[in-house]
Amino acid sequence: MKFAGIIFANLLRKKVRLLLTLGSFAVALFLFAFLAVVRYAFTGGADLADAHRLVTINRTSIIQPIPLSYRDKILGIPGVRRVTHDNWFGGMDPENQREVYPELIVPDDQWNVFLKDRQGAIAGAATAKRFGWKIGDRIPIKTTIYGGGAWEFNLDGIYHGKRPQDDETQFWFQWDYFEEKVPDRFKGLIGWYTVQLDSPDSAVRVAKTIDQDFLNSPYETKTETESAFAQGWVKQFGNIEFLILVIGSVVFFTLLLVTGNTMAISVRERTGELAILKAIGFKDGSILFLVLAEALTIALFGGILGLGLAELAMPVLSNALSGMLPNLILSKTMLAAGLGFAVFVGACSGVLPGIGAMRLRVVEAFRRI
């Protein structure tokens, strides 16, 4: 720490250069945070999945329905605690939905009103905000698939996710109301089942049993853990991960070049001073330390600046992209990884000029000036 003075004095020697280098780091870390968040937005669903849950869909594809009558058979399989069913429009099983998705929280009083209201509906906080709905609103929704004019709903409650990443965009309403309104050919058919297990260990066995039970029936099923189901969607996106990795590497190498070059220039300019330091008795290690410390300080401050900006910008970006991507959230892990990345680049950029300075031969250096 006794060198702090000289390090700061050196940093401030060229203020424009210091600002530019800090800026480069800030920009790179901002991008790092942004890419990490986008990657998570595309792939994060699998991390959020609950290991206690299985998803059963029609084997043909998710757009094909399965009969409601499968419900009791699935419930009879040992290891199954609860089953709920949903469909794309939002009709769901009010008896089990809340228990199967404990991370989506509806206050008890709202839930109790909903249970008694045939036309009741519960909306996710994000959806309610998007359309400006308040509890008590009467909401007409026109379906293009099921026809029958506008369906009327009463918004009885709004659910919030336990974690900030949870999906707050769903719209739930009573299954009975759905059955009553749809044309005959849709009656008795649901979109998918979500099966809650007693223990994640039985996932493979239960999934197999469900699919075997309905094999060779007119509606064969495909049952997966929630996490495998989410990953299946992610894989269809195409190579988002690869794309982000490529952009990330380009940013990384560009930054490394820029900062490495700046450090090299600033060390080169100071050859004389470094030679004097050595002449008056500074050890090689101390010289290396001085140069590295300077690079690391810039990296650290630039990194904090960039991550801070990203933190500030994220709500704005999240708003701009709402409806296209799920909530963008900058997690603590990402921040920590970002700082680590900044320090790593700082160290890399300082190490070559530092070694050059360390190897400097005093006599030659003096001759050069």
Binding site: L20, V27, T60, G232, G238, L257
Partner: protein, 389 residues
């Protein structure tokens, strides 16, 4: 008098490490900029080329994609008799279609992805004239036979001519491969709509969309007016090309927004890099500049000269960036089309105007990064600069 450009070339050569850093910084930025935009272009081009200007697609009123639409057989019969529908031998050129998705394993990863399966009328090739059978034959009406788009054949295993595949609870034989000119249909699988309705247990009198070939491109308005006035119909009509352009909007907007943001932020970073390089050049060359001023070159000439140098560096950077991403042109990749829940193959499309855009972007970064240091160099008092070294 202007300072000779050869001075700039020599000075770049003398400080080549810094110059290369600046060049690479700009190249990286321009490369990402061009690549992202070409991705968005490719996605859009694929969908837009799916639609023909002289075709019209009819879906249920309010439906934004075929997935959520339904048109009854009765409506379809009314539609095909409206004015403006092309006729061949007295028969209307109309295809009524059913669209579902079915999972097939992607060759690349071995995991399933949703393929759009389209049940079509037997005369579909007279409606969609850009679609040609390139291998095997067309399916026979009434049989569970499939014709497969050539991207779909290349993307998924098991979709080659002669193979039998199972989906939806039926067994199908692949009898032909079609080429739809790089459009979204190339990622689809087509079969007889009646058979598809049976296999997917859908009623035989409901289709998801009806596509008609118009007697002439100008007949669209009359056709649309006739349909909207008809009280028996509750449907929306759009030109096929507009329908597909609309489908591409969400994805194109997402890619352009994300790509644009990344490119702009990287651009700021590259400007910092260029500023750093140019400022170092100016400060290292303080005495040179002072000597030139003492020799009688004007301050303007010095600014101009430094600007030329910055533009030179950025031009090279821009060119390197463009050349580096050029091999991506035509490279096919796949992505999810959210409107249809299905996977669609499309190619990066790097057009000359994108490349020009990339170079302009690079030059703009050069000006932004070079102007301040150039002015800084020109306004330093000559005497001080000469003395300082």
């Amino acid at each position: 008098m202007a300072i000779p450009v050869i001075y700039n070339f020599r000075s770049v050569r003398a400080r080549w490490t810094s110059a290369i850093v600046a060049v690479l910084g700009i190249a990286g930025t321009v490369g990402v900029f061009v690549a992202m935009l070409s991705l968005a272009r490719g996605f859009r081009a694929t969908l837009v080329s799916s639609g023909a200007y002289d075709n019209a697609i009819i879906m249920r009123a309010g439906a934004t994609s075929e997935m959520m639409s339904g048109v009854s057989l009765d409506s379809m019969k009314i539609i095909q008799d409206e004015p403006g529908v092309a006729r061949v031998n007295g028969e209307p050129v109309v295809t009524s279609e059913v669209v579902v998705v079915a999972p097939f394993p992607l060759r690349e990863t071995g995991t399933d992805a949703n393929v759009q399966v389209r049940g079509v009328s037997a005369n579909v090739l007279t409606v969609r004239r850009n679609v040609k059978i390139v291998d095997g034959r067309m399916f026979q009406p009434g049989l569970s036979e499939l014709v497969v788009g050539h991207y779909a054949r290349d993307s998924y295993s098991g979709l080659t001519v002669g193979r039998k595949v199972n989906f939806g609870g039926g067994e199908w034989t692949v009898v032909g491969i079609f080429d739809a000119g790089g459009s979204a249909f190339d990622s689809e699988v087509w079969c007889d709509s009646r058979i598809l309705q049976d296999v997917y247990k859908r009623p035989n009198n409901i289709f998801q969309s009806v596509t008609v070939h118009l007697s002439s491109p100008d007949a669209f308005q009359a056709f649309k007016d006739a349909i909207s006035k008809d009280p028996r119909l509750d449907v929306d009509v759009s030109r096929e090309i507009d329908y597909y352009a609309k489908q591409s909007q969400a994805m194109t907007r997402l890619i352009t927004f994300l790509g644009g943001l990344v490119a702009v932020v990287m651009g700021i970073g590259a400007i910092f890099g260029a500023l750093n390089t140019m400022y170092s050049a100016v400060s290292e060359r303080g005495r040179e500049i002072a000597v030139m001023r003492a020799l009688g070159f004007s301050a303007i000439a010095v600014v101009f000269s430094f600007l030329i140098e910055a533009l030179l560096i950025s031009l090279v950077g821009g060119a390197v960036g463009c050349v580096a991403v050029l091999p991506l042109n035509g490279f096919t990749t796949g992505a999810m089309n959210w409107q249809t829940f299905s996977h669609m193959a499309f190619a990066f499309s790097i057009t000359p105007d994108l490349l020009v855009g990339g170079i302009i972007f690079a030059l703009a970064m050069g000006v932004a990064g070079g102007l301040l240091p150039a002015i800084h160099a020109a306004v330093r008092p000559i005497a001080t600069a000469l003395r300082s070294l």
